[in-house]
Amino acid sequence: MSTTIELPTIELKLDVKGDMAATASPQAKPELDKEDDLYNHCHQRISKKGRILVSRKAWVVRAFTLAAIVFFMVYNIKVALISWDPLIIYSTLMPIHTLIVFVVGWLFFKNRAAGATGEVPEDLVSVIIPVFNQEGLIENVIRAIFRSSYSNLEVVAVNDGSKDNTGRELDLLAIEYPELKVIHQANGGKRKAVATGFYASHGSFVVLIDSDSVVDEKAIEEMMKTFSTSSEVGATVGNCKVLNADKNFLTKCQDAWYDYAFNIHKTTESTFGTVLCCSGCLAAYRREAIARFIPFWAAANVQNSDDRDLTSYTMASPWVKSELTSLSGRMMKAMSQYDDAEDRGLTSQTLTTWETVYVPTAVVYTEVPEKAKAYIRQQTRWKKGYIRSCFFVSVFFWKKNPLMSLVFYTEFMSTFTSPAVLFAIYFYAPFIQHLHWLPLTYFAGQLLIGLAAGFDYKFRQPEAKYWKYKPLMNMIASLVLPWLIVPALWTYRKNAWLTR
């Protein structure tokens, strides 16, 4: 049995002026048609130079946000210097981290696909879909790929021992689409399924798509345009949006979170060519960027960090890559034993030489957990993968851009320190140190940063419905998620396809 997924359609009713104003009506000026068409696909207005455009009102809010962060930082430094407060480094580092993410993402990011000149490359692209128990949705996933505007595709769907009707659905689709190759194998995990697809395919570019992710028809073309802009781009990641956002409170919160994660955080990473995780929902690699790592990566015994691992490998510097290949057989093997962040693993490996880049115009819709238990399980799995990937990436990332290094090491550090900080702020400070203003200040800070990101979502995508949930999501992210470090470390060696 199959279901049909209607992808969100966008009506252009932008309340902007001047050169940003646009309409989807038939009366629209011809020169705007191409931009409007792209907007209908990626829901963000992208300039010809690749900048994500927003209204003047948005820039006012952004300026206010940045000014507030700077004010807080300067005030904090001033007070700390007067009092020789030893907490000065930490309490300054965190707002600097936030400032870098916002400033770089808002002011310096350019969508490289917009800079592509000439024809879209015609290289063969291999689309690999590891599939496990995805009855129903898989048909839409496959059909969406074949609706792609990029035509030179071979699609390999690897059925990893599904126990439902997925295999049969794939076989029927293979009859309909001769370019679809279906491989059935005994259940061995996502990494092994991807590796099977990798070896069974021939394209010089490999696109990995999760079996619960539906790509927009322009997505692969936009990613290929990005590859065509520079031979140094080894991996690209698409703009992931939530397919089931309307479902409930949790999915609405995740919708707001995905927007921040991709359209603010990843834009910052991408500006430096160091996207740390080319997410499994839609990632594309040059075959040569990951080919040497796939054997280690595929020997996985756990189901996490696959995307991060590959990305990291792609972006690492040459000398590190040389170290990796000569000295790190055991390390790679150890890293590839786990499937909890298989995407991160691939990314990590890609990072060793290449640039990894975010493509906001390559949109993919993915299903997110609808129940708290499943969400917590997913987040625990991601945290495990994040730690595993960062453990490896931290060896070489200091060689990257200093600002991005600061962001990376600050985030890696705070993954471990956040629970202690939360304990100190919400319990130790008010009850032991009698500092009652500290939890309130911290809470308000998180809320305001969430509000700023939420507004930014609304300004970039005026029809966005769930931007209001970003402050709430910030509360969840700052109060609940840090504690998942405990189960993540506790079950560090445990392995499973945890999403289904």
Binding site: Y90, L327, R330, S394, F416, V421, Y428, Q433, L435
Partner: protein, 242 residues
């Protein structure tokens, strides 16, 4: 070094740095104790309502039982002696030259000395006291200040933005302080400042509305602050009433 060892090393470094950075959060058991030392400093110069202003200030300081230090221009003290005598025992009274003039604008040393000496004599005479605390008008001093003060019998100098000087063992010795213009900051700023070992010196002048000063002191009294005058900071008497 194998990559695994390098990864362990960098991860441990990140963890150590992280926990070292946040450890101060846990190191101080009760940051509300001890109280922060604060000296309120008032510069009094010529104005139409200077007598009322000083009397009101004295009344406020008495009412809130707050120690402070008042620096009065010699000429004004001579003209209105009551502005010196109105302050109670908890308030140190000092001078700030006779004419409220920028000392660095006077080239002649003897004229500078006369300004400082006459200012002190005028204040002492007006209040029937012996003051040994000084603040240079506009905070302006030069290298002559030490000899000017010692030759005038002044032992404490509160002319600076980040220090005060006390005459100890035959020379002026620097003591650190955090000095703020009171009108530029709200009381909340001082109440939320973490404790520091140096005293906070909050400076007002007689152009500041007395009602603002009262509400300021009223708010400060809610915090964990210990109000001191110049003598209490110095550890010896700087204003002897006869």
């Amino acid at each position: 070094m194998r990559l695994k060892h390098a990864a362990i090393l960098t991860t441990v470094l990140v963890l150590v740095a992280g926990f070292a950075m946040i450890s101060p959060l846990f190191l101080r058991l009760d940051r509300a104790e001890p109280k922060q030392k604060v000296m309120l400093s008032f510069s009094v110069s010529e104005s139409d309502d200077v007598v009322e202003w000083c009397k009101a200030l004295s009344s406020i300081l008495n009412g809130y039982n707050v120690g402070a230090t008042v620096f009065i221009v010699g000429e004004v003290a001579e003209q209105y002696p009551q502005i010196v005598s109105c302050f109670g025992d908890k308030v140190d009274v000092g001078s700030q030259t006779y004419d409220n003039i920028d000392l660095t604008s006077i080239a002649d040393y003897s004229l500078k000395l006369e300004e400082v000496k006459e200012g002190k004599i005028a204040v002492d005479g007006a209040g029937n006291l012996y003051s040994r605390v000084f603040r240079a008008p506009f905070g302006a001093t030069d290298q002559d200040i030490y000899s000017l003060l010692s030759r005038s019998g002044i032992l404490a100098d509160f002319s600076y933005d980040n220090q005060y000087n006390l005459y100890e063992d035959g020379q002026f010795v620097r003591h650190n302080a955090a000095v703020y213009e009171g009108r530029d900051y709200s009381p909340d700023f001082f109440l939320t400042l973490p404790n520091i070992s140096e005293p906070l010196i909050i400076v007002f002048d007689s152009t500041c509305p007395i009602s603002s000063i009262e509400s300021f002191i009223s708010e400060l009294k809610k915090g964990h602050l210990e109000f001191r005058n110049a003598s209490q900071l110095a550890g010896f008497t700087l204003t002897s009433r006869r």
